[in-house]
C-alpha cells in the first residue's frame, strides 16, 4: 500500500510518481480555514482559557483584543476646556455637564465583558463612570420620556436605548477604562457602556443625551442591525 515518496531512482513523469502531498496540504488548509468559520470561536475561547488562567490570550495580541471602529473620516478630539455633555429633551432640568461636573457625579465601577457584533470579545474590562440614574436624578425626565437618544460627536453616529435598558444594573456612562481616563479611540471623554448589548449600542464620544418618547433606529439599525442588540440573542446569532 505504502508507495515510497522519496525513491532514489529517477522520478520522471512516470506512473511511480510520489503522492500528491502538496495538493493535500493545499486542500486541507483551505478546508480547515473554511470550516473554522464553524469551530473557530469555540476553539479560540477554550484555548484562551486553557493557556492562561486570566482567561485571555489578549496580552499576546498587539490590539489587546480591541478593534477601533469609526464611521466618519476623523475621530473626535476631546478638549476639556470646551467639552460639554448636554442632557435635554423630555426633562424638567436640562444639563450642560462639563468634564469636572461629570466626574463630580456619584462614581460607579464595574468589570464587564465587551462583545462586538462582528464576533470579537474583550473580557474583564474595568469601567468607571456614572450610572444613568444619577444623571436622571438631576435632569428629572418627564413622564413621557421612555427612551434615550445618544448622540456621538462623531457625526452622524447616533443610537437609542429604552429607559428600561438604560437603567439596567450594569449600564453606565464610562469615563475611565482599565484605570485610565477613556482613551480617544475608545470614545474620550465619555461613552455609554451597556455590556448586555453589542458594541454598536455602546456609543462613543457622547456629546448629547436627549430623552425622547420612544426609541428609533440608530446608525447601524438603519443599515439593518437590530435595535435591541442583546448579546447572543440578536443580529442573527
Amino acid at each position: 500500500m505504502n508507495r515510497s515518496v522519496h525513491s532514489t531512482e529517477e522520478q520522471g513523469m512516470t506512473d511511480s510518481q510520489p503522492r500528491r502531498y502538496g495538493r493535500g496540504l493545499f486542500l486541507a488548509t483551505v478546508a480547515g480555514g473554511l470550516s473554522s468559520l464553524v469551530w473557530g470561536r469555540t476553539v479560540w475561547s477554550r484555548a484562551s482559557v486553557a493557556l492562561s488562567p486570566a482567561e485571555q490570550l489578549v496580552p499576546f495580541v498587539p490590539t489587546s483584543g480591541w478593534r477601533i471602529y469609526t464611521v466618519s473620516g476623523s475621530m473626535p478630539t476631546f478638549d476639556p476646556a470646551t467639552w460639554r455633555l448636554h442632557v435635554g429633551g423630555l426633562v424638567e432640568n436640562e444639563l450642560d455637564l462639563d468634564y469636572a461636573k461629570l466626574r463630580a457625579l456619584p462614581r460607579a465601577s464595574q468589570v464587564s465583558d465587551f462583545h462586538c457584533v462582528t464576533g470579537w470579545t474583550v473580557r474583564n474590562v474595568r469601567w468607571t463612570g456614572v450610572r444613568l440614574a444619577d444623571v436622571f436624578a438631576q435632569a428629572r425626565p418627564t413622564q413621557q420620556a421612555h427612551a434615550l437618544q445618544l448622540t456621538s460627536a462623531e457625526v452622524p453616529y447616533v443610537d437609542y436605548v429604552t429607559m428600561k435598558q438604560a437603567l439596567l444594573h450594569d449600564v453606565m456612562l464610562a469615563y475611565e477604562m482599565d484605570g485610565k481616563p477613556l482613551a480617544r479611540e475608545h470614545g474620550a471623554p465619555v461613552r455609554l457602556v451597556i455590556p448586555e448589548m453589542y458594541g454598536y449600542k455602546n456609543v462613543k464620544w457622547l456629546s448629547r443625551i436627549d430623552l425622547v418618547s420612544e426609541a428609533e433606529s440608530g446608525y447601524w439599525e438603519n443599515l439593518g442591525y437590530d435595535r435591541d442588540a442583546w448579546v447572543g440573542h440578536s443580529n442573527g446569532y
Binding site: 515518496v5 522519496h6 522520478q11 510518481q17 510520489p18 503522492r19 500528491r20 502531498y21 502538496g22 495538493r23 496540504l25 493545499f26 488548509t29 483551505v30 480555514g33 473554511l34 473554522s36 468559520l37 464553524v38 469551530w39 473557530g40 470561536r41 479560540w44 498587539p62 490590539t63 489587546s64 480591541w66 478593534r67 477601533i68 471602529y69 469609526t70 464611521v71 466618519s72 473620516g73 476623523s74 475621530m75 457584533v117 462582528t118 464576533g119 470579537w120 480617544r184 479611540e185 443599515l223 439593518g224 443580529n235 442573527g236 446569532y237
Partner: protein
C-alpha cells in the same frame, strides 16, 4: 564568466510581483484598520476600509488576469510540480510556502467577502469570520518573514531574488541549490 539559466518565466514573475504588491497594500491598509494606535494616527477609516476591500478584490482579479492572459500551460506545469512535495525546480520549503500562500489568499478572499457582506446582511455573519481573517494575517506574517529572510538577507540563498527579478540565476548557483532541477 557567469553563465545564466532561466529560472522563472515572465508569467511566473508577473504573478509573484502582482501578488506581492497586492499583499503589501492589503497588509498596510489592514494594519491601519486593525491596530488601534494606527487607527488613531491615520483616521479616515471609511476610506481605508474602501481601499482595503477594493484592493483585495483588485488583488485577486489581477492574479486571475495574469494567469488567464499569461503562459497558462507553463503555470499548469508549475502547479503540477507543486502538487508533489519532493525537491525539483523548487525545494520542499518553497513548495510549502507557495501552497500555503495560495490557500491563504483564497481564505483571505472568502473571509474578507464574508466580513464585507456580513456588515450588510446577517445571513453572511459568522462569529468566527474575524478570527479567521486575523489568524490568516498572523500566519501570513510568519511565512512572509521567512520568505523575506531567505530571499533578501540570507547570503547563501539571496541570489534567488535575481531569478524573480530578471528571470535568470547563475548556473553554478542553480546546480548547487537545485540538483534535482539543474543537475
Amino acid at each position: 564568466m557567469t553563465r545564466w539559466v532561466r529560472r522563472f518565466s515572465r508569467t511566473e514573475r508577473m504573478l509573484h510581483w502582482v501578488n506581492a504588491t497586492g499583499f503589501l497594500l492589503l497588509l498596510a491598509t489592514g494594519l491601519v484598520l486593525y491596530l488601534p494606535r494606527l487607527s488613531v494616527l491615520v483616521g479616515r477609516r471609511p476610506l481605508v476600509k474602501d481601499v482595503h476591500f477594493w484592493g483585495g478584490v483588485g488583488w485577486i482579479s489581477a492574479l486571475a488576469l495574469v494567469a488567464l492572459l499569461g503562459d497558462r500551460r507553463g503555470l499548469l506545469r508549475t502547479a503540477k510540480d507543486l502538487e508533489r512535495l519532493t525537491p525539483s525546480r523548487f525545494n520542499v520549503g518553497q513548495k510549502v510556502n507557495a501552497l500555503l500562500s495560495a490557500a491563504f489568499a483564497l481564505l483571505f478572499l472568502a473571509s474578507g467577502l464574508l466580513l464585507w457582506f456580513g456588515e450588510r446582511d446577517t445571513r453572511f455573519r459568522f462569529a468566527s469570520t474575524v478570527l479567521l481573517h486575523d489568524g490568516l494575517l498572523y500566519a501570513s506574517l510568519v511565512l512572509l518573514a521567512g520568505h523575506l529572510y531567505l530571499a533578501v538577507i540570507h547570503p547563501a540563498t539571496r541570489h534567488s531574488l535575481r531569478g524573480m527579478t530578471t528571470g535568470k540565476v547563475s548556473e553554478e548557483w542553480a546546480r548547487r541549490h537545485y540538483p534535482d532541477w539543474f543537475g
